[in-house]
Structures are given as structure tokens and as C-alpha cells.
């Protein structure tokens, strides 16, 4: 492996090119493997594709680049505190917009930190939602019959199907 390589180029599922540094790519096992494969070949003309759309990949790479220094070297408590604040700002996104794409990408790229963060963000957003809003974002149909709804209401007074 050539040690001079500092960044690699990857393609998004939309076909756009993105650069990601070696240290940032190490946050994801599959990315790390890709990196090793690319660097082993002398003529790096084959650009690997990541099955994540451009809009999401920008965010994922941004997360990796921010977290790479700490993941690779370990850092002080004040850095951890700063990173926590950064994570909160980073996660200020709409569930309808990009959050679920980030979740899928973090799952696909085996990025534990980002996956936990995105799951917690989704859970926090859900806390303020009604049952019908939840159905919408998860593409779920209300499959309770009116009799079943009535029975559940009797068993658990105050439960809502809307």
C-alpha cells in the first residue's frame, strides 16, 4: 500500500465524484476495504461507487472528516464535549428530508457512531409525533379493524389511533 495516498475519490449512486481522506474513511469498514483495494492497484483509474446518493454522501463524509481525528488518536474531554455540540448541530435535519437516508447509509457503511446518533435523533423527533404522523413517515397502513380499535380503546383508555 502506498503511504503517500491521503485521499481517495469515490462515486455516489448519482454518479457524482467525492473525495474522502484516508483517516476519515477508516470510520467505515466497507470504505476502509475499498480504500485498501484502490491503493493496492498501481493505476487507480477505477473509481469505486458507494450506494448512497450525493446529498447524503456529502453529510456522511462531513461527519467522517469531523470525527476522524478523535477516532484515530483519541482526544481530551474538552474535545469530546466540543464534538458532542457539533453532533447536535449536525443532526439538525428533518426526518422527511434526509435523516432516514443518513440512517440507511450509516447502516450500510457500518458506522456505529453515526448510526447511534441518527437513531437517537429519529427517536427524539418521534416523541412529538402523533400516531398518524408516525404511520406517514414509516409508510405504515393502519391495519386495525374498527372492532379491534374499539377493543384496544376499552383496554387502554386514552389510546389514540390518530
Amino acid at each position: 500500500m502506498s503511504s503517500s495516498v491521503e485521499a481517495i475519490t469515490v462515486l455516489s449512486s448519482d454518479g457524482d465524484e467525492f473525495k474522502i481522506t484516508v483517516s476519515a474513511a477508516k470510520l467505515s469498514k466497507p470504505l476502509n476495504w475499498m480504500l485498501e483495494d484502490v491503493c493496492f492497484s498501481d493505476d487507480c483509474d477505477e473509481v469505486p461507487t458507494i450506494e448512497v446518493n450525493s446529498k447524503t454522501l456529502v453529510k456522511v463524509i462531513e461527519y467522517c472528516e469531523k470525527h476522524a481525528p478523535r477516532a484515530n488518536s483519541g482526544a481530551s474531554d474538552s474535545d469530546a464535549e466540543e464534538l458532542k455540540k457539533w453532533d447536535i448541530e449536525f443532526m439538525k435535519m428533518d426526518v422527511k428530508d434526509i435523516l432516514f437516508h443518513i440512517l440507511m447509509a450509516a447502516n450500510y457503511l457500518h458506522m456505529e457512531g453515526l448510526y447511534d446518533l441518527a437513531c437517537q435523533t429519529a427517536a427524539d423527533l418521534m416523541k412529538g409525533m402523533t400516531v398518524s404522523q408516525i404511520r406517514k413517515i414509516f409508510h405504515i397502513k393502519n391495519d386495525f379493524s374498527s372492532e379491534e380499535q374499539e377493543q384496544l380503546r376499552r383496554q387502554h383508555p386514552g389510546c389514540s389511533f390518530d
Binding site: 440507511m104 447502516n107 437513531c119 418521534m126 400516531v131 414509516f138 409508510h139 405504515i140 387502554h156 389510546c159
Partner: protein
């Protein structure tokens, strides 16, 4: 033009990701979202999802439960950064004054009432059940209780250790209740020959065992040969084992010492007064996994003005009750008389102290019993059905 994101832009999440999100929700929301669809209604009834939820709840959101010693139906839950929540008591518990919590484990509370009846209660899902009467039913308090869980047998057990008041409080009989079988049985207690349990009542559970502080009564009449020890009950094998105490500071009669679980290991919290009686400090001892070797892993800095009585460990904090020191009673009197009951936390990482208070709601308060708690979906009433 107003731009709206169509629903079709939101990807369909695979089942595993949805579950990962849902286990991060508080139990109250999970119950509300049962109405989403039939699949979600049954999702958190499977043993594997209950365990997954419990694991997350225990590690990400460990809480402390404060039980008012004066009015046991008043429960306060302390979570995250010391946010305090009132726990809604079940009517049956509220009506039974002088009932109290035996111990807390995986979101279940074992409770005993003034008629010596036992209950199991999961406050998060508001599920409870009455434990049947034990085989040897005496209307007395000549026994010590313990409650815990073993993953090996996947069962919750209540242990009742009877002592003989006429025979120097020595252990005479042991009965064990299994939530899985729903019945009591007597177990062998030969290994507890000559042993008595500390009436200070500190017991704890963790890692498949229940612990009490005890004493091996010596042969000599003057009590010279007495040995302080910890009585361990292995929930899976239903057998007892005696462990010597780590320090002379942790004694059977020791006032204000605690047993706790720290990083999945048994921990002893002992306190020492300075020579001039003006400050106190706390030591933390941890037992290795083979239950053989004690190691002192932490000593707090001295705390001036109050006597620290360590109760339990929460995250990286030793939680202490406090009482006045003999030398400084006049000064501390004001602290005790205001509207807040004070406890002290000693940080294992920063070595700093922090005082925190729980409001008494204007009522008299003689302090709290404190338990580790994590909300869970573990059922009580249908336990044997759901897990079999």
C-alpha cells in the same frame, strides 16, 4: 412557491433500523405507538426485543429511584442530569402504607407490604402481580429478603432468609420464589451454618447474584471470633457462598456502608471519619469476577462538615446520604431544616463532590432509600407465558 417534500421521498426503512430507533424511545411512547399497526403492537412483546430494549435502557439511561422513608408511596425518579420525575404509584401500593421496596432489578420492583405480602411491579408499563404466600408463612419479620435476575436461567427470584430470634439470629431456613414457575421452594442453606444477616438491611443484586452483608458468628462467647462477610446467593444454581469482607471498615454492624454493583461487579462502599471527626471520606472496593479478590479502586477526597454514608453507585458517581458530624451539628442544622432533602454525589472520575436535593413537597421527610433503576418492558403478570 412553497416546496413540499413528498412522502415518496422518505425511504422505506428496513425492520432492523426501525427497531433500533424504537428501542431508544421511552416506554410511555412505545405504549402510545402500539396503535400504529398490528405489527408494532406485538413488536415489543417478544423476549428478544424486550431484552434489547432493556439493554439499551440500562446502559443509556440508568436512573435512580428515591423512595421516601416516611411515605413509601412517594417515589421520585432521577434520570439524565438529575432531572426528577414523580413516579405514579399504583393504587394498591398507595393504599398500603408502610409497604416498601425490597430491591429493583431490570425495571421490576419487588415490594413488601405491612401484611408481609410480596408484589412485583413494573411501573413503566404499569404491570404488577402479587407473589403467592411462601410455604412457611409466619406473620413476622424474622427474615431478610433479596430479589434479582439470572440470565443463565432467564428468571427472576425472590429469596427469603429466615433467622431464628431465639438462636442468636442465625439463619435457619431459606425459601426461593421463581417468577418463571410462579412457586416457592425451600433450598439448602447448610453453607450458612452459624451465619447471621445484617439488620442494616443493605442488600443488592447484579450479575446473576443477590448479596447481603452478614456475620459468621465465632465460637467464643464474647464475639471475638466473629467474621464480617458477604452472603452471596447464586440465582441460577440456588446456592449460597460466603465472601470475606474487603475491609474492617465494612462491618456487619457498620453504619452507613453500602453494597452496590459497579461495572457489573460487586462493590463495597465504606466510609471513614477523619481523626478530628470534622470530615469523612468514602472508599470503593470491587470484587473480581471469580468472587475471590478485593481491590480498592477509589478513595474520595475528605468531605468537610458532613458524614458521608455511601448508598449506591450511579453512572460514575457514588451517591451518599449525609448526616451531621458530631463536631458540626450547630452549623448543619439549617441545611436539614429547609425544604430539600440533601444527598451528596462523589465523582469517580473528577473526584469532585456535588450536593443535590430532592424536594419534599412541604412534608416531613426522613430521607430516601435509593435504588438503581432502568425502565423496561419486562412483564410481571404474564411472565411465564411470554418467556416460555
Amino acid at each position: 412557491m412553497k416546496r413540499t417534500v413528498m412522502q415518496r421521498d422518505i425511504p422505506f426503512l428496513p425492520e432492523e433500523i426501525i427497531t433500533s430507533i424504537l428501542i431508544r424511545l421511552p416506554v410511555k411512547r412505545l405504549i402510545r405507538f402500539r396503535c400504529v399497526c398490528k405489527h408494532w403492537k406485538n413488536l415489543f412483546k417478544t423476549p428478544s426485543s424486550i431484552v434489547e430494549h432493556l439493554h439499551h435502557s440500562t446502559h443509556q439511561n440508568p436512573s435512580l429511584l428515591f423512595e421516601d422513608k416516611e411515605d413509601r408511596s412517594r417515589l421520585r425518579l432521577c434520570y439524565r442530569e438529575m432531572q426528577v420525575l414523580r413516579v405514579q404509584s399504583e393504587p394498591f401500593i398507595g393504599s398500603v402504607r408502610r409497604s416498601h421496596i425490597v430491591d429493583s432489578c431490570n425495571g421490576l420492583l419487588c415490594i413488601i407490604d405491612k401484611n408481609y405480602s410480596l408484589y412485583l411491579w413494573n411501573p413503566a408499563i404499569r404491570d404488577f402481580g402479587r407473589v403467592p404466600k411462601s410455604i412457611n408463612w409466619f406473620e413476622s419479620d424474622d427474615y431478610y429478603l433479596g430479589f434479582g435476575y439470572s440470565a443463565i436461567v432467564n428468571d427472576y427470584k425472590i429469596v427469603k432468609i429466615y433467622v431464628s430470634r431465639s438462636d442468636g439470629d442465625l439463619v435457619s431456613l431459606v425459601e426461593v420464589y421463581s417468577l418463571r414457575t410462579g412457586s416457592w421452594k425451600e433450598v439448602d442453606c447448610d453453607s450458612l451454618d452459624g451465619v447471621t444477616i445484617s439488620s442494616n438491611g443493605f442488600n443488592t443484586n447484579g450479575n446473576g447474584a443477590i448479596f447481603w452483608s452478614g456475620l459468621q458468628v465465632g465460637v467464643e462467647k464474647d464475639g471475638e471470633g466473629d467474621i464480617d462477610l458477604i452472603v452471596l446467593f447464586d440465582i441460577a444454581t440456588e446456592s449460597f457462598c460466603l465472601i470475606s469482607a474487603p475491609t474492617s471498615a465494612f462491618t456487619y454492624s457498620g453504619y452507613g456502608n453500602g453494597l452496590a454493583i459497579y461495572e457489573n461487579k460487586l462493590a463495597v462502599l465504606s466510609h471513614t471519619l477523619s481523626e478530628n471527626l470534622e470530615s469523612s471520606l468514602v472508599d470503593l472496593w470491587v470484587l473480581d469476577e471469580d468472587w475471590e479478590q478485593w481491590t480498592k479502586i477509589y478513595t474520595s477526597s475528605p468531605y468537610a462538615g458532613l458524614r458521608l454514608l455511601p448508598v449506591t453507585i450511579w453512572k460514575d458517581q457514588i451517591i451518599c446520604d449525609v448526616t451531621d458530624l458530631p463536631e458540626v451539628i450547630a452549623e448543619t442544622k439549617t441545611r436539614v431544616e429547609n425544604d430539600v432533602h440533601k444527598n451528596v454525589m462523589s465523582s469517580l472520575t473528577t473526584n469532585e463532590f456535588r450536593m443535590f436535593g430532592i424536594h419534599k413537597d412541604g412534608k416531613a421527610c426522613h430521607g430516601y432509600d435509593i435504588f438503581s433503576y432502568a425502565e423496561s418492558l419486562v412483564p410481571v403478570s404474564n411472565f411465564h407465558i411470554e418467556w416460555s
